[in-house]
């Protein structure tokens, strides 16, 4: 067996392998003999078909099989002796095969890039240290209050922020539209959720008033009966109500499920939940900084085969998420490709780190993680059991834990600088690795 290696690009390698004629012939004859012992043909007793007849009938198929088998065996050997590690698929092309000739083929593949920097020594890492201020707590409380708004009917004219209860009838060209009648529809003034003309048209109306508003529908409106038409809405205002935000007091705390302790307890709870969220977020940011600097330290060409595979995977996930509606679409290929490249590169680096440091997913941490995930479910024990039943499912958790461990260890090799940030700034921080 003769093997020559060519370097086609930085990572691309082309192997040219020549298998001598004797080896091929020997293999072929062996297969022919075995086949003629099994083959059944009319006019011959089973297994008594002469090799010549069998060859005439099956030689094409046999040649392919022999070549395929020899390629598989010799290629593995060739890759082994030249100490190559192929990444992704191998493209094999062989010259025309015939009996009595040697087998010559080329195999093209990419090899894994060499990864040299496996620590972050001397790297300045930034760790955001979030501070939760009273203002952050108040802002959250404000959001909560808005969610628990109540409506109080008033006798005055409707203003922005008010809610109207209306009945309306739609007419196009003076005729009532089919299905164009509704009762007790809420309209939030200034929310933009109804037609702009209507929202503007009913400002200043009082309870019991009826107004006519003309709405011009665009030519591409969804309802063909309305497209491009001017429809007249006859709006009868049944009720005008103003929003009432609940007061920040012990009542609010009670309504939110805090039995005693009152408003101070609520504030404390909000603060601690914000702190938890901020800590989680800070960890994500830090993790991203670790991975990013790791990638910056290891600039290498990524095997395109692996990138293509990743692009394909991402697209499938995206399609599954978007449902059948999102058909195959090549337009955002470049977008995927760049992200896939970073992902693959990081995957390779992390795998190398794991290998060189012999890091393993700690069983205790895996357990803790699953338990944490289980907490949100009704029957945590069942959930944990279910998770541990499937090695594949558990494997996902293990790889997450493994990644966390790697990031932690890497972080310890770097210079970590704490930087205090406000909660709002923290939320604005970039967490995407790509």
């Amino acid at each position: 067996m003769q093997v020559s290696v060519e370097t086609t690009s930085k990572l691309g390698r082309r192997l040219t392998v020549v298998v001598p004629a004797e080896q091929f012939e020997q293999e072929f004859a062996h297969r022919l003999q075995r086949l003629s012992k099994q083959v059944k043909m009319p006019g011959f007793r089973p297994g008594k078909v002469p090799a010549k007849v069998v060859e005439a009938r099956y030689s094409g198929q046999l040649l392919e099989e022999t070549a395929g088998d020899l390629i598989e065996r010799t290629l593995r050997e060739a890759i082994g002796t030249h100490d190559l590690r192929p990444a992704g698929g191998t493209r094999v092309q062989h010259k025309p095969i015939a009996r009595g000739q040697g087998l010559e083929y080329t195999a093209e593949f990419e090899i894994y890039p060499e990864i040299t920097r496996l620590d972050l020594a001397g790297v300045d890492l930034e760790r955001p240290v979030p501070e939760i201020t009273d203002a952050d707590v108040e802002r959250t409380l404000e959001t909560v209050r808005k969610q628990r708004v109540t409506w109080k009917p008033v006798e005055r004219a409707a203003a922005l922020e008010d809610r109207l209860m209306v009945d309306f009838i739609v007419r196009v060209d003076g005729k009532e539209l089919e299905g164009g009648k509704a009762e007790n529809q809420p309209i939030m003034l200034g929310s933009g959720s109804s037609f702009r003309e209507i929202e503007e048209g009913v400002v200043g109306s009082v309870q019991g008033e009826t107004r006519r508003v003309t709405v011009n529908f665009p030519a591409d409106a969804r309802n063909p009966a309305l497209a491009g038409k001017a429809a007249e809405f006859e709006v009868h205002v049944k009720e005008v109500a103003e929003p009432v935000l609940p007061a920040v007091d012990d009542e609010l705390a009670k309504a939110l499920g805090i039995a005693d302790g009152g408003i101070d307890k609520l504030r404390a709870e909000v603060r601690s939940s914000l702190e938890r969220e901020a800590a989680e977020r800070a960890r994500t940011v830090l993790r991203r900084n670790v991975l990013k600097s790791l990638r910056d330290l290891n600039q290498f060409e990524v095997p395109t085969g692996l990138v293509e595979g990743e692009v394909e995977r991402m697209r499938r996930i995206r399609q599954a998420a978007a449902g059948a509606a999102a058909a195959a679409d090549d337009s955002d290929n470049a977008f995927y490709r760049e992200r896939a490249r970073v992902r693959v590169a990081l995957g390779l680096i992390l795998a190398e780190v794991v290998r060189s440091r012999g890091i393993k997913a700690d069983a205790g941490r895996v357990r803790a993680r699953v338990e944490q995930m289980a907490r949100d479910y009704e029957a945590p024990e069942k959930f944990i059991e279910w998770y541990y039943a499937d090695p594949e499912r558990l494997g996902e958790v293990e790889s997450t834990v493994l990644e966390d461990t790697v990031v932690e260890q890497l972080m310890n090799t770097a210079q970590v600088r704490d930087r205090p940030v406000s909660f709002e700034d923290l939320l604005k921080m970039d967490v995407s690795i790509e």
């Binding site: 006019g43 011959f44 002469p50 007849v53 005439a56």
Partner: protein, 105 residues
Amino acid sequence: MSEQKKVVDEKLFHVIVAPHVSEKSARLADKHQQIVLQVRRDATKPAIKQAVEQLFNVQVESVTVTNVKGKRKQTGRMAGRRQDWKKAYVRLKPGQDINFLGQQA
């Protein structure tokens, strides 16, 4: 003359029905350069010789023929008989060969 020759030619195409492939025919082909054919029942030795020579572009040494009786077949009470047929052993001159088997995979 040419008119008559053409008619003969067309008939020749119909003389040979099929090659007969069996263990015996494979052995004969190997040992004695003989091919075995199923031919029309009314074919004569000279006609077979001519047909083989023209169709396969070979030279024929000799032809022997045999009439094969059709097998008797019976399903239930219904008795029947398969068609009789004629088998021809055609010996080629030394150095000649016909490959019936073809290179199909």
